[in-house]
């Protein structure tokens, strides 16, 4: 059967699904996997711009499904990784242009040529979500340590459970360790406690993420970024490696505390 289909979803919008998909795609390609990323958010195409590939789109997902092109023709190869491709979403159509059966059919073709097929799900729990999870062997649920995002994640996990979808794993994105320390943000333990699902990664809030998206170079390529390291760790865990969770608490020695006082709360 070949490659594995991994869907990235969240319920709530804006928690970082597309950023996660882009970064995991790059991180997996860096460790030698043949990867294709599918943007399933039809009508709100985004993955291409985060990856810096928006100028090279000729065909899209709906063109494949409606038979106007072969899957290969719609794939855009990444500039730096010859084994990393994306299939962009259609921008002028809506979610009903694709069915769950279409997604299963397409991914079955892609499984022959790729190790990992990663699907970036749209927000919500309607048609677009159903399309994205239909072919999944594994589902990554992205959440933020906030009440609304956790609630929506729980809803998605519940839906996947009732459909007997194979193993789900949780990514806690945009965790601010300093706020957790002050008791102003749910900790990773709180979130996993509430959602009762396997944790596969914690991505700290990081000032390098937005500039990376700005320039279309996923933060995983930045060796000095903690978020980038977190994504690389998740990629290794996806490959079955046991990677310990990174130390998130900042140094709290005397001088660091003084320094932080001078830098102010946002330091």
């Amino acid at each position: 059967m070949g490659g594995k289909v991994i869907t990235v979803t969240s319920g709530k919008g804006g928690v970082g699904k597309t950023t996660t998909t882009a970064n995991l795609g790059v991180a997996l390609a860096r460790i030698g996997q043949k990867v294709v990323l599918i943007d399933a958010d039809i009508g709100l195409r985004n993955l291409d711009i985060v990856m810096g590939l928006e100028n090279r789109i000729v065909f899209d997902l709906v063109d494949i499904v409606e038979g106007r092109c072969k899957p290969r023709q719609a794939m855009i190869r990444h500039k730096l990784f010859p084994e990393l491709y994306i299939i962009p979403a259609a921008q002028t159509r809506d979610k009903s242009s694709v069915s769950p059966a279409d997604m299963i059919q397409l991914t079955d073709i892609l499984r022959e040529d790729f190790d990992i097929i990663m699907i970036d799900s749209p927000a919500g729990i309607e048609r677009g979500f159903r399309n994205a999870v239909a072919p999944a062997d594994e589902v990554l649920i992205v959440t933020n340590p906030e009440v609304s995002a956790v609630r929506d994640a729980d809803r998605v996990i519940g839906l996947l459970e009732t459909e007997n979808k194979a193993s789900g794993a949780l990514i806690i994105n945009r965790l601010n360790p300093e706020m957790v320390r002050r008791g102003e943000m749910l900790s990773p333990e709180d979130v996993t406690d509430l959602l009762a699902i396997r944790l596969i990664g914690i991505v700290p809030e990081d000032d390098t993420v937005v500039p990376s998206s700005n320039s279309g170079v996923p933060v995983t390529m930045n060796e000095n970024s903690r978020a980038g390291l977190a994504y690389r760790n998740i990629a290794r865990r996806i490959m079955g490696e046991k990677v310990p969770f990174m130390q998130l608490t900042e140094p709290t020695g005397f001088f660091q505390r003084i320094a932080r006082m001078f830098r102010g709360r946002n330091g």
């Binding site: 009440v147 609630r151 009762a196 699902i197």
Partner: protein
């Protein structure tokens, strides 16, 4: 440094917002998962207690019915203590009369009418019984004969039922 100030002044520190987030989510998620909003849950609790009260008398003050979660499963955990009345033991205090009995009794008015003309009082009983429930009085007539004897304290039984 508000925590530090709290400690110096011996104040209890304000509840952390992360703790509030977790507590609120614990409550919301358990209701979300079974698709039962809190108001419906209250209605269900009430109904469960009514059913149980038909058979045994419930210590309503100390009832505890709540949703719990165990991993990703939700369960309804109920602690329903009974009043100390054993089967076969006479009730000395009329107030301890099990709620089940008072639930079957159609109404005080009918009980009063019963000794006079047991079998043929249905029409008159109906007219007298103002607060009768939806239960049709005619169906319950056999019950009247049995219950009428050990029920001297009518106001007590009536008020009990309305709980």
């Amino acid at each position: 440094m508000p925590e530090f100030l709290d400690r110096i002044l011996g104040r209890a520190p304000a509840k952390k917002s992360s703790t509030m987030a977790k507590e609120r989510l614990q409550f919301i998620l358990v209701h979300d998962r079974i698709n039962l909003p809190p108001e419906r849950m209250e209605a269900m609790k009430k109904e469960i207690l009514e059913v149980i009260a038909k058979y045994v008398s419930v210590d309503n003050e100390n009832v505890d019915i709540a949703l719990q979660k165990r991993e990703r499963a939700s369960l309804l955990v109920a602690e329903i203590p009974f009043l100390k009345t054993l089967e076969g033991v006479e009730f000395e205090d009329p107030d301890d009369k099990p709620a089940s009995v008072s639930l079957i009794v159609p109404d005080d008015a009918e009980v009063e009418a019963a000794p006079a003309a047991e079998a043929k009082t249905e029409p008159s009983a109906k007219t007298k019984a103002e607060p009768v429930e939806e239960v049709p009085a005619s169906n319950e007539t056999p019950a009247i004969e049995e219950v009428a004897k050990p029920a001297p304290a009518k106001p007590a039984s009536a008020s009990k039922r309305r709980r």
